[in-house]
Amino acid sequence: MIPTQYYLLLSAAVFCIGIFGVLTRRNALIFLMSVELILNAANINLVAFSFQYGNLSGQVFALFAMGLAAAEVAVGLGIVLVLYRNFSDIDVTEATTMRW
């Protein structure tokens, strides 16, 4: 049996990769993927603790998070499309016209 700490380390690693992607990349699609990584890091955490304590709530919660992530991708891709239509590019740092 693999100790729970390993899962947590994995989760932390995935989370850090996701954060790194969000902070450094400008391509909206990669942005979206990085957000997915962050979400899945949380999922790993949930499942790991659920397994640790023998409580299924965490796993159910992870399923919901996946469903949510699917919906989020749909909305996210829509935003990316609009972004492209308005700025002819999907660089997230270009879309600054709504600030003050």
Binding site: I19, V22, L23, V92, A95, T96, R99, W100
Partner: protein
Amino acid sequence: MTAFDYAPAIALLPFVSFLVALFGGQYLPKKGALAGIAATAGSLVLSAWVALTVAGGQTYNEALYTFTAGLETFDLHLGILIDPLTALMLLIVSFIALLVHVFSLGYMNDEGETGLPRYYAGLGLFTASMLGFVYADNILMAFMFFELVGLCSYLLIGFNFREAGPPSAAKKAFLVTRFGDYFFLIGVVGIFVTFAGATQTPGLFAGEGSFPVVAEHAIVDGATEGLNTFGFEPQTWFTILGLLVLGGVMGKSAQFPLHTWLPDAMEGPTPVSALIHAATMVAAGVYLVARMYGFYALTPTTLAVIALVGGFTALFAATMGVVKQELKQVLAYSTISQYGYMMLALGSGGYIAAVFHLTTHAVFKALLFLGAGAVIIAMHHEENMWEMGGLKDKMPVTYYTFLAGSLALAGIVPFAGFWSKDEVLYEALIHGFGTEGGLGTVFLVAYAMGLLAVFFTGFYTFRMVYLTFHGEARTETAKKPHGVRWNVKGPLAVLGILATTIGFVNLAPVKKLTGLEVDFLHKWLLGAEGSGWEALLTGYEHYEHVLHDGPAHVLVGEPLGATGTLIASALLSLGLAVAGVLAARSLYKVPEPVEHTDKLGSIKTLLMHNYYQDEYQVWLATGFTYPLSRAADKFDQGVIDGVVNGISSVSLFSGSRVRRLQTGVVTNYALFITIALVVLLVVFGLTGGWF
């Protein structure tokens, strides 16, 4: 129906003529003059009817329209008070207004002036507001109409608003009288606040429960329950209230030091000057003191102030009249001086003398102004007396009526002014000798000033007459004067006859000497025996009682015996007047008069500049009030507004800096979130003891 049911129409008729002239004057044959004449004639007839009813022993004191009803306290209302004093004043005002309207036909219409509907609308409103003021039954209504009178004088003085002088004179008249009215307003509010607890009708002038009567109970009987005197003794507080109201009186009646507006007001058309000086505006101040005399008679200090201001103004203005070169300027100073006499009489307990002088002065001053108007028409609007001369033979009607008015003004027996001025001085003299202490001394000082002014009055009056009408014509215009028509001569003739005879309504000295019952005005102001007037407590009998038994203790003293004092006083004032006239005659009744006033040297300069009154008042405005208001403005703009503006600019500035966080770049937001998360973790770690 009695006359009193129609009393509101006395003021409403001229108001209607105001509306007619304002909105329809353009289309009427005489531009609204006829409406004004009809309205004032109607007012005169109604006033006469009212006066007859009052003579029959009836009086009237009713609220007509309540505009603010109080819950368990006083109401604010418009109402009408008619007693003999009111009836007399209504007659004077509507009579003078009628004559001024008729005269205006000659002075304005025949001279081809423009803007006549505006002029007649102004006259109508002026008359209406003065009549409303005269029969106001409470002091708030009196104040409202007092202000309207001031507004109308502003409109009429500034009638020729396209020239340089009139608008500035109108503004000056308005501002100076407003300055006095400011104190009056505080006084009105003070009276309501003071008496509201003690009576249901604190603003009324007459009747049980009116403020003079409540004040009398408080001082004489010590019934101070419910009075709010702000911690002062009742007498001190009533003195303060009386002096506050007196501020308005001094502004309107042109008493020193608020007299400066009146000579400038000569910029208005001459009939307007006649109306202002004889019956409205200037008369309003003195009338107000007479109206609430029961209040003033209670406080010796206010009496002393009124007498001193009056006596001083009489002398002060008379000396300035001596050097003036323009006809209307001389008359203006004589008006200030004569109203000084009325104040002197009121202050020294000569209530009847004051009302008498108000009556005779209304007649002869209206006459003199209308006469001056006739001269000005004849002279093609030249007003300098040195440009005139020799008009006597060319305009006899004007000359003889003007002479009658001048004799009345100078106080030569038997013209009207002699009887009233003599009574004013006599009352001041006997009360001065009779009253104990400082008040008596004040009366005597005021008397001395008034007496001295008699000489100057005689002098400047006849200097004016001789320069204008006698000698040789000094200019081409004076050689060929312009003729005047019936509408100028008619009013002059009526007033000329009255100025000669109206003194006979109150021959008090004759009565004292011979026992003949010829003091009709005295009897009129005493009221008929058993009349409804006694309940109003505004009769002379009541005032006499207040003066004698109240704190003022005004008593009669006759150092030379009753007859001796009377004759001495009359001879003294008549002698001085005649001396003045003779001095003027010897100096100016020559074919080629010269300016003898040049011999006065620096005094003439002082007098020509009106004792630098205007200069110091202008200095007060520009050298004192202006910097003070500048400083106040600085404080307001700098400190008060500065704090408010400071707060908003700090918010604006910080907002403009803080908004830089919102870059619109999503990466930055993510960075903030991450940093915040890390910080949060560290904080939790530190406080939670992980490390």
